[in-house]
Symmetry: C2
Subunit: 333 residues, 2 copies
Amino acid sequence: MADFLTLFAPLDMHLHLRDDGMLRAVGPASAADFAGAVIMPNLVPPVDSLAAMRAYRDRIEAATADYDFTPFMTLFFRDYSDAELAAARDEIIGIKLYPAGVTTNSEAGVKEISGYDRQLSAMQELDIPLLVHGESHGFVLDREQEFLAVYRTLAKRYPRLRIVMEHITTAAAAALLDEFENLYATVTLHHLIITLNDVAGGLLQPHLFCKPIAKRPEDRDALLAAALGAHPKLMFGSDSAPHPRSKKEACGCAAGVFSAPTAVPLLADLFDRNGALASLQAFIGDNARHIYRLPEQDKTVRLVRKPQTLIAEFADLVVFGGGETIAWSVEGA
Amino acid sequence: MADFLTLFAPLDMHLHLRDDGMLRAVGPASAADFAGAVIMPNLVPPVDSLAAMRAYRDRIEAATADYDFTPFMTLFFRDYSDAELAAARDEIIGIKLYPAGVTTNSEAGVKEISGYDRQLSAMQELDIPLLVHGESHGFVLDREQEFLAVYRTLAKRYPRLRIVMEHITTAAAAALLDEFENLYATVTLHHLIITLNDVAGGLLQPHLFCKPIAKRPEDRDALLAAALGAHPKLMFGSDSAPHPRSKKEACGCAAGVFSAPTAVPLLADLFDRNGALASLQAFIGDNARHIYRLPEQDKTVRLVRKPQTLIAEFADLVVFGGGETIAWSVEGA
């Protein structure tokens, strides 16, 4: 039984760092344990120009200056010119699509997206990955499944475009990884652990409420099996999404689970309990480095088998797994 | 188009009035618009003796003394002696079963309940209805469906026992009404209107969180069709369940929707919008009077087609439908 585990350049491939005071609060939590992260562009207003992206990157670098941490930047999907795409290409890791026009009718969704053929073709030619929040506007439990038809259409129409299904939550989405060569996925920590039962089976737990919402046990089990089996097309992306407590414990609770401070030790504990510690390196870094063709980074994070009770609060934020006692700790944390 | 509607002795066949200060606050809201209600016995400690039931009834009568309102009392299911059942019979409307021992395995549930054969046989002989919170301990969306096997077994084993499936939420439970003569059901107002999408499809809405949790659109539609069609075995039961705001907008939100102050006008509006005003009297009173063989009551509640914006707060409670403008008002309210 291993008592130490060294992770080489762990990556969080889906992260919300927000901005300003919140960025300064949560940035260090991710930067301490990760070598880099894919930064979501959904600020208000969204990060949808090279200038806005560079300014945001500067603010992130300032907030994480004490750490060896690389923010991999994204742009918010809109109708970019070929020149804009070419100019952005070397400074972004991908473009993030929130399909606002997609309805329960996935055909309509495809049509909506097919209006962007010029841009998607250009992204394919420039080798800019497309990151997708893949949900329809249908019934909350069906949204991801209804969106799979859009993924299929995109994957077929742009066979050289790397398409990342972000924060997948269903067995059906995981199965799609094996159907199309150019489809990849991120999965969160919490979707490997919780189901809708944890959110709403007892008292309602606003701090476990997120989008896409946690699904059925068989979905969670399929995602966990893929992660523990080091599926080469599946990457860790925390989707850590901080909201102040006043926005969570409220009439109209914002969606998002905040897991940045606890993700790495919780993942080690989860993989260890399932006898799959050997798969963690692939899941938390190597797969992503391969899929996104990222340069090597020499940061290491050392975990030790030392019980710890996870912090429950971080600034004004309730932390995923907080209060739990687990077997692994990040050394020096 | 009718501009007035007189309801004769409307009944709420599933109501939580709580106790003490909360009872004094919410009791009048139900007593104003209803001629009577079936009072749930799940106080702490539960109402599980004739003496406790009588004392609780006295407190309810004191809290609703200004109104023509009859509390139909229930006892909390436990192992009652035949003498206790015989003594209670004329003062209770039924015994409410919360199947704490029922697991995801509905067979185990049946076995658990079959340990009460003597009592259930005695209830059948004494003609005391059995009111059931019919959920397994399984995955939150499957609990009612998993429990249906228990209903089937009970209905077959005690063919003269009137069994009421409380607050049904699924199309499958509604269908069971037509399968067994001795199965009846209550349904809430909110389960005729909302689905899980309203609870968790946008921002999470703690004030719409209840048990059993709201289900799929096709479930809601089946329940609504049965209510609008005046299904003779389906009764209105609000399951109005007040929790102070601090217990709802919280880390660990209590289950319950508070609809007592708005239920009658909202039902009139709902039935009217669906062209089924003529079915409301059956749903909100006549069916229950027939099923439970209740004496006639001469209270009437008169509704007028007069737009109103429903109150959003009642004491410290957030009210179902609050803030909505609807076409019907209770006259004099």
